[in-house]
């Protein structure tokens, strides 16, 4: 295992405050979701999941058709479509546009896609100011961090952390009341909205047959980002497309409930093109950036293609026993949790993140809560096979093989198995060699006084 991954995991496990924040935050999201999709509230939940999966599968298989249809409809509404193969092409486009329009200040609403391409850093490197306007994103931007969670970027922070960073960066001393902290951010960001030259958003969905960009949010910052500045740029992965507006109902029903337990998020905006004749608000110019950045590579693998169905709800993170212990910043890239474990190796190349597909107990909870039914454990196993069979096989192969051979032999010899069972009660004492490293991050369950075999025998 690469040491950076290991080190971050150890740091997170050893930080009690962080463990508590993780446990409480994800726990609450799990409860909210469970409540929202319960049989009595959403009897058609399973049908919706199946339909969402079928829709995504269909769209991905006919992606070229729907992309061309989308492009034509965006253009028909006076917008422009900018195709970008990678991160550099996106920032080149934005920088060039900013230069031509003499833009300096950019407001942004939360977008994992722009995080993926480090857009803020690239723009700031060239002297532009890019301000995140979602409260959680704003806080972590002040701290110079990456999002801790796909939908709750500041999940790892407490009000006291927020008070500290507001004091340090905004000069506001010791404000620990959450409502007041929110109002501080509101007034700072209002000024940014009004002064901004460009608004950059992501896109939750792109509707092929109307050319609309759909944005889903609770705060209203995406609405302000697309209303106040003269230029709106939406940056979206090519997989965000759905065929028709009527398909959206299915995804909206699933997204809010899976993410935060809301039947629908507070604001859902449908934006097509720039401001029209007779409209007062809205941008003069609208650009839709369609980003590849490795997505076509995933598309080319029929076994793992379903990784592109993801609608970024974060449900798999909240339910994952591994994410709930190691947290978001242990993951090597901005996508964390089970979905991060399957898409990161596919985007960055498995050779750069060989440990990631193994950071899972394969318990299957992620697949069970996924609103679009991505079979995450199956993809993880596929990726594991790729690591084991690919170039530079893991060193410990012989040891692992020996282990499994021994296990197979034991399973075929009941007496030996029973004897081994007795010895295994000494396992907590074994803390040497490779076991020491393995156990440094895992607690063994306490040994019961009697084994199952003993109890069974006593029952007669």
């Amino acid at each position: 295992m690469p040491t950076a991954f290991n080190e971050k995991i150890s740091q997170t496990l050893g930080n009690q405050k962080l463990q508590l924040a993780l446990y409480a935050g994800t726990g609450r999201l799990v409860e909210h979701r469970k409540h929202a999709v319960a049989e009595e509230r959403l009897p058609e939940y399973q049908e919706l999941r199946s339909h969402a999966n079928a829709l995504k599968k269909h769209t991905i298989e006919h992606l070229d058709h729907y992309l061309e249809q989308l492009e034509a409809n965006v253009q028909a509404h006076g917008g422009q479509v900018i195709w970008c193969r990678d991160a550099a092409e996106v920032s080149d486009f934005v920088l060039d546009l900013a230069k031509r329009r003499q833009a300096r200040l950019i407001v942004k609403s939360k977008s994992m896609t722009t995080e993926e391409i480090d857009l803020n850093e690239r723009l700031e490197h060239h002297g532009l100011e890019a301000v995140e306007t979602d409260l959680g994103e704003y806080i972590i931007q002040l701290r110079g961090e990456r999002p801790y969670h796909i939908v709750a970027p500041a999940l790892h922070l407490t009000r006291y952390d927020v008070a500290d960073i507001f004091q340090e960066k905004l000069g506001i001393p010791n404000e620990t009341v959450i409502e007041k902290q929110t109002m501080i951010a509101r007034s700072v960001l209002r000024e940014k909205f009004l002064a901004a030259d460009i608004g950059i958003t992501g896109a939750n969905f792109l509707i092929a047959d109307s050319g609309a960009v759909v944005l889903v949010e609770n705060e209203g910052n995406a609405r302000l980002t697309t209303t106040a500045p003269k230029i709106h740029i939406a940056v979206a992965g090519i997989e965000k497309i759905i065929p028709r507006a009527q398909d959206l109902g299915v995804f909206l029903k699933l997204l809010g409930r899976s993410a935060t337990g809301q039947p629908l998020t507070v604001y859902t905006s449908f934006l097509s093109g720039a401001r029209r004749e007779g409209e007062i608000d809205g941008p003069d110019e609208f650009y839709l950036v369609l980003l590849d950045n490795g997505r076509t590579k995933l598309l080319a693998d029929p076994d793992k293609r379903e990784s592109l169905y993801c609608i970024r709800c974060g449900a798999c993170l909240n339910i994952c026993p591994v994410y709930r212990k190691i947290g978001g910043h242990s993951f090597p890239w901005i996508y964390s949790g089970p979905i991060g474990a399957i898409i990161t190796p596919q985007f960055l190349g498995i050779q750069h993140t060989p440990a990631l597909p193994f950071a899972s107990s394969l318990c299957g909870a992620c697949a069970e809560v996924c609103p679009v039914k991505i079979d995450i454990p199956k993809v993880l196993l596929d990726l594991r096979a790729g690591v084991k069979e690919g170039p530079g096989k893991a060193k410990s192969d012989w040891l692992e093989r020996l282990g499994f051979h021994a296990f197979a032999w034991l399973m075929c010899h009941p007496k030996a198995y029973a004897l081994m069972g007795r010895f295994s009660r000494l396992a907590p004492l074994l803390n040497i060699g490779p076991l020491r490293a393995w156990r440094s991050q895992r607690d063994l369950p306490a040994m019961p006084a009697k084994s199952f075999r003993q109890l069974w025998k006593e029952r007669g």
Partner: protein, 212 residues
């Protein structure tokens, strides 16, 4: 950039083998076994809508056609709202006396911010999700109107309430090219310690009057 376009589309085609010529039939054949059409009568829809608005800490009033002005007056008075902005096409006859109404003829954001609240109509409402839908249509004004002031009072007509989102989306597809906003409750965040705070960037209070 057309080079990037052709490149990406070529990669997509080589990855998937390209769209099948019968994509339209395949799309039509997708299973759709979920609830798309509601079965409730008006009373049922109203009850559901009221429950959902209540879940969001919103307030829902109902009144007869001849009671609209009085209901608006009561709602504004109850919250101590005096200076209210309305869309430019909003009829003066439908507004109560004793308040200061400002018609939004391209007010600045600062001017909007100085109002206590806003009154708008809507395109339609969705009972199941407690949602009001705004476009730039009749009595709805521009986008900033339902965003900048801290209090939003929305009038919904009896025939404007649909039970499910798919029904609403079907109706909206006629005017789909317009900027459309679904609003389900007041602006909110839970970004700090999962504590829900209302009124982050948009209105803190959403109140609905259904005209029966």
């Amino acid at each position: 950039m057309s080079e990037a376009r052709n490149d990406i589309l070529a990669r997509v085609r080589s990855a998937t083998g390209g769209a099948e010529p019968d994509y339209a039939e395949r799309y039509a054949a997708l299973p759709r076994e979920y609830k798309r059409e509601g079965a409730l009568d008006f009373e049922g829809k109203l009850q559901l809508f009221a429950d959902r608005i209540h879940d969001y800490d919103g307030v829902l009033h109902t009144c007869g056609k001849d009671q609209v002005v009085a209901t608006i007056a009561a709602a504004l008075s109850a919250r101590g709202k005096r200076r209210i902005v309305v869309p430019p096409d909003y009829p003066e006859a439908s507004l109560p006396k004793g308040f200061e109404f400002v018609w939004d003829h391209e007010l600045t954001y600062e001017a909007l911010d100085q109002c206590d609240g806003v009154i708008t109509g809507c395109t339609l409402a969705i009972a199941l999700t407690g949602t009001i839908v705004l476009q730039d249509g009749l009595y709805q004004g521009r986008r900033a109107l339902s965003l900048v002031p801290d209090y939003h009072l929305c009038l919904v007509g009896r025939n404007q309430i649909y039970e499910t989102a798919p029904e609403a989306i079907q109706v909206l597809s006629r005017t789909g090219a317009r900027v459309t906003t679904f609003i389900s409750g007041p602006s909110a965040t839970s970004d700090i310690e999962m504590t829900r705070i209302k009124g982050v960037h948009g209105p803190r209070t959403l109140e609905v009057i259904v005209i029966c």
